[in-house]
Assembly symmetry: C2
Homo-oligomer: 297 residues x 2
Amino acid sequence: MKQVIECIPNFSEGRRQPVIDAISGSIAAVPGIRVLDVQSDADHNRTVVTFVGERQSVAEAAFQGVATAAKLIDLDHHQGEHPRIGATDVVPLVPVSGVTMDECVELARRLGQRVGMELDIPVYLYERAATRPERSNLADVRRGEYEGLKQEILTNPDRAPDFGPARLGPSGATVIGARQFLIAYNVFLATDDVNIARQIALAVRHSSGGLRHVKALGLTVEGKAQVSMNLTDFHLTPVHRVVELIRREAARYGVAVERSELIGLIPEQALIDAAQWYLQLDGFSRDQVLEIKLREG
Amino acid sequence: MKQVIECIPNFSEGRRQPVIDAISGSIAAVPGIRVLDVQSDADHNRTVVTFVGERQSVAEAAFQGVATAAKLIDLDHHQGEHPRIGATDVVPLVPVSGVTMDECVELARRLGQRVGMELDIPVYLYERAATRPERSNLADVRRGEYEGLKQEILTNPDRAPDFGPARLGPSGATVIGARQFLIAYNVFLATDDVNIARQIALAVRHSSGGLRHVKALGLTVEGKAQVSMNLTDFHLTPVHRVVELIRREAARYGVAVERSELIGLIPEQALIDAAQWYLQLDGFSRDQVLEIKLREG
């Protein structure tokens, strides 16, 4: 199976197009890398680059992106709505195919070490690559943002980086780690009552007692109540279980699921898992899919 | 998108391994061809070869298979349980990706013409490539088998071949055509009462009033009642509609669907269609599947 790792670095620049181009260009220039998307937001003053490749290429491209951002972005003169601690704020590595989570964790650690040593940037490992439980969650690592961390890193041993110096330069610190593919999945209800969407979001999301790998909010979108979600591990908390639980909760209010939508990409496996579950294909194996057999067989 | 045509020729030899090897070898030797499967059955005295490739390669490989079979198989000395009219009995071409049904029909006609002219074998076009409605169905074209057709082709204008001579040599006649991918899909019921499976088969299959592209039988398999099916056009009669209709019919007898199984391969699109239908992903597009975007984007 062809090895594919996805990397989705977030850079603290969403306004100066030449800077955005220089960063994404330094990533795209690495052989074996395919840039799938570059999304900049001026209000957040932030750019998200999505690219894929094999292990060595991805590590090199991520390093080049971090190096370019460190040269061109000065956090002392950066303002934006989105919380951030570094010119390169966060670098998640995601196993897509032919590679395990453990290998992505290992890759994140080696990338972090190189960023710390060669670029003199403090690096925090997060999610599956975290070295302390309290660093799993990105929001916790980013607490106080660049301005707060600048002071705290000097004195608080809890904020000591995993790699690099315990002091912040103008390019700040970078959070690097490995996580599962994130599926952005929204379910529209056949009602305009947003309170029902909010009640359902509370029921299905992990933080308030629901499913382990679901983050959810109740919103009004296009005049309909919507349960808006991030599914952070579709292997353990699959899409079909989420929508069927929402369907059941909605029925309790006399409401049906009208439709659902994916924002961005979904791994093939998540759709195959849903088809297998609904069709009750117990003995099914991936290499019964013609295209997978042609690709991998 | 990469062009993939599947070809599944059936040869009237399932016992003499050197003959089977010579036929499949002549197919595999064509550049650009990938042989996925060779299945021989001694009782049927028949071998089914499954291979894929682009248009020109597939036409060349099919021709080479027919030519080799014509040299090595003598229908005057062939016996087997399976009905047949030729050394190469039938050659279906199936569009898998990057190619339309019309292009496969055109390819079937050109292949038929070449087999008729260069090998002096009578060729009947069937299924989507049929030139007469009464030749759509393979069983109708094969009526009387080799022995019956040998006499009838000489005198009955209804049996005149589309290409080649109106007389049978010892390699018989060959049926060539284009059809949709055939999905072999079986649904197990939570009962051992085969009569319920038979009633459901009658309800869902086309021939007795059911869904257009479903062939079905009720059987007992592993002690359970099974609805055994061929789905002959999953674009028009999708797998999810079939299993949900079976589920409804079974409920009328107080019986549930226990599990289902696929025999052999299924195109990725059939599983994506099922996931999209059950998850109610109305605005979904194929290039939201990460692997498809990587492959085709």
